[in-house]
Symmetry: none
C-alpha cells in the first residue's frame, strides 16, 4: 500500500490533476519548495517527481520561471493501442481466436525485468492466435502481473481479448512500444500458418497502469497480412 516511494506519489498526484483537466496545458504547477512543503518531503524528493515528469514529456521547466504542463503529444493510429478484434470488425471481417496457452509460469530474466518482478516470480502466461476471416493475423504472447490482475487466468478470452480485458480492469497510463522485423520461428510459423523464417512484424508492448507494470506482450504479424499506419501533422 504505502510501499510506494514518496516521489512516485507526488508524480501520481500531478498526473491526476492533469488528467482531470484541473491543470491544463501551460498551467504552472507548484514549485519544488511548494511541493516539498505540501507533501512534507525534502526539496530533493519533490524535485525528483518534477524532473522525471519532465523527462517523460509531461512537464516543461524553465529556470527562474517555473514548471508548466506540456502540450499533449499528438499520436497517430500506429501509436494507439487498439484491440485487434475491434480492428478486424472495423474492416467488416469476422473475428475468431485460438487459445494456445493460458497458465501460470515462472518469470525468466527478460520477463522479470519488463514486469519489474524478481526472476522466478509467478506470472500469468498466455498465447493466443487472432484470426481475420479465418486467416491467422496475430500471434499474441503475453505475460501479466498476477498481483495487479489476479483474475486473469479465469477469463474467457474467446469473447474478450486480453487487451480489452486489461484496459477495463487496469486503465493504461503508459505504453512502451518497440517495432521490429523478424523471421518467423518454428512455433510462430506453425501458429500463423506461414513458412518458417518468412518476414514478420514483431511488436513488443509494455503497458503500465497507475499501480505498476501490468503486462508485457509480444505481438507477431505475418508481414504479408498486416501493416501499421500513422498520420502525423505539425
Amino acid at each position: 500500500m504505502s510501499s510506494q516511494p514518496r516521489y512516485a506519489a507526488i508524480k501520481e498526484h500531478i498526473r491526476a490533476q492533469i488528467e482531470s483537466g484541473k491543470w491544463p496545458a501551460q498551467f504552472r504547477v507548484p514549485s519544488e519548495n511548494q511541493l516539498a512543503q505540501d507533501f512534507s518531503v525534502s526539496r530533493m524528493t519533490a524535485r525528483r517527481a518534477l524532473s522525471e515528469l519532465t523527462d517523460e514529456g509531461v512537464l516543461m521547466r524553465s529556470q527562474g520561471l517555473g514548471t508548466f504542463v506540456a502540450e499533449p503529444v499528438p499520436a497517430g493510429s500506429l501509436l494507439e493501442v487498439r484491440n485487434i478484434a475491434d480492428e478486424i470488425a472495423a474492416r467488416g471481417h469476422s473475428y475468431a481466436n485460438r487459445i494456445l496457452k493460458l497458465e501460470q509460469a515462472q518469470a525468466g530474466t527478460e520477463v522479470a525485468v519488463a514486469l519489474g518482478l524478481a526472476e522466478g516470480a509467478a506470472v500469468y502466461h498466455s498465447i493466443i492466435v487472432h484470426l481475420d476471416n479465418g486467416l491467422p493475423i496475430q500471434f499474441e504472447e503475453r505475460y501479466t502481473n498476477p498481483t495487479l490482475v489476479p483474475e486473469y487466468l479465469q477469463q474467457d478470452f474467446t469473447h474478450c481479448t486480453p487487451n480489452e480485458y486489461l484496459t477495463r480492469v487496469a486503465p493504461l497510463t503508459e505504453v512502451d512500444t518497440t517495432v521490429e522485423a523478424v523471421g518467423a520461428s518454428g512455433e510462430v510459423a506453425r501458429a500463423l500458418e506461414i513458412a518458417e523464417n518468412s518476414a514478420c512484424l514483431q511488436i513488443w508492448r509494455r503497458t503500465k497502469s497507475s499501480s505498476g507494470t501490468v503486462s508485457f506482450a509480444r505481438l507477431v504479424h505475418p508481414g504479408s497480412r498486416y501493416r501499421l499506419g500513422a498520420q502525423l501533422r505539425f
Copy 2:
C-alpha cells in the same frame, strides 16, 4: 570548459569506455561508491550519472548485483521524423552513405498517385544506403516532386541527407507513415549486405509541406539492425 556539471562528466566518461569497446555489453561498471571516490563527488552525484544512463538504455541496474552495460539497441522513433544521420550521431557512431542513384525519371502509377502528379511526369529519383559504423542500416529510395524542389539533383547528399535537405527547403506540415515487414529483395539485399529474403522493416513515408506533397520514400532496414520505439503516456 569546466562549465559542465560533474554528473555529465561522469556520464561522458562511461560512454567513452563503452564506445571504445573497453566496457562491452554485460560489463560491470564501477559502483556508485567507487565512482564517487574516483571522481571525488558525493554518492548522489555519481548515482545521477548512472541513473540517467540507465533511463537512456545505456546501462542496466540490479539491486544487490551492480550496474551493467546494456545490449546496444539502435531505435528510431515512431513519433517523429528524424534524420538518420543525426540518429546515428546521437548514438556516438560514425555516419557514412553510398549514393546508388540520383537522376530524373518518369513517375510510375504508384509514384504518380503518391505525389499527386500525372503518370509519366518527370520526378527526381534517388537511392542512398546509410551506414552506421560502416554497416548498412537503411536503404532509402526516394521520389521527389521537381516542381516543389527543383534543386534536388544538384545537392551533395554525401554530407547532408535528403531528409535534412528537404526539411530545410520545404518545412513539413504532414507525414503519412506505413510500417511493414518484408523479405529483402535481391537489390535491397545486395545494398544492405544481407541475405535475400531475410526479414526487413520497410517504412513508406509521404511528406507534405504547405505547397503540396514533396516526397515519397521507401526506407528498408535490416530487421536485425534496427528497431522503432515509442513511449506513450495517457
